[in-house]
Symmetry: C2
Subunit: 116 residues, 2 copies
């Protein structure tokens, strides 16, 4: 069995990669919010931390009621309990990646986990 799975550029408002890439340690979604729109609900998590990367555009997140401006290249980590919502700017769309992992699940990493 091959040790890799590849998929091409995500298209559309939301692409979920867990099944496409046979992921076992994360769920990753690629999301685009049109100008002036938002995710229509606030949410938090039971067990998972989320890491967001802004691919293009700009907007903001609210976490526990606090506004956090976001633009291309920014990274935002949110602990499971953070109550979060994402908004595109009123004059630009926003495309972003959301990486969902179980909080506390990482053991060794990089050099300590590598075989060179």
């Amino acid at each position: 069995m091959s040790n890799y799975v590849k998929t091409g550029k995500a298209e559309g408002a939301r692409t979920e990669l867990h099944d496409k890439l046979s992921l076992t340690g994360a769920e990753i979604s690629v999301n685009t919010l049109d100008v002036g729109t938002s995710v229509p609900f606030v949410h938090s998590h039971k067990a998972n931390e989320e890491i967001y990367f802004i691919i293009s555009g700009k907007g903001k997140a609210t976490v526990d009621g606090e506004d956090i401006p976001l633009e291309e290249g920014d990274w935002l980590k949110i602990a499971p309990a953070g109550r979060r919502q994402f908004f595109a700017s009123s004059d630009a769309p926003m495309s972003y990646i959301c990486i969902q992992v179980k909080a506390g699940s990482l053991g060794d990493y990089t050099a300590a986990d590598a075989i060179v």
Copy 2:
């Protein structure tokens, strides 16, 4: 204590986010290979799967000796045992994200882990 940590756009050849973002379920690095260069070694992992996202440019990966062409927007998941190396194209640099998570660590996710 705040439920979030933000950091701005990564600059330079390699930025590691684990400590910058206080990550507990992943290590994430942002990497740029100049035109015609490569990561100078082949590696695999003991416990971690890696997910790569090509932010810009183009190049290739080799996994277990097989060439996999890569361009902007592509995603590549590699199981721990895959012996991997990354190369920028001879006529373009390649910038990519590497997400490292413990294989098999994800439990419930998205709706099953959310509180709305």
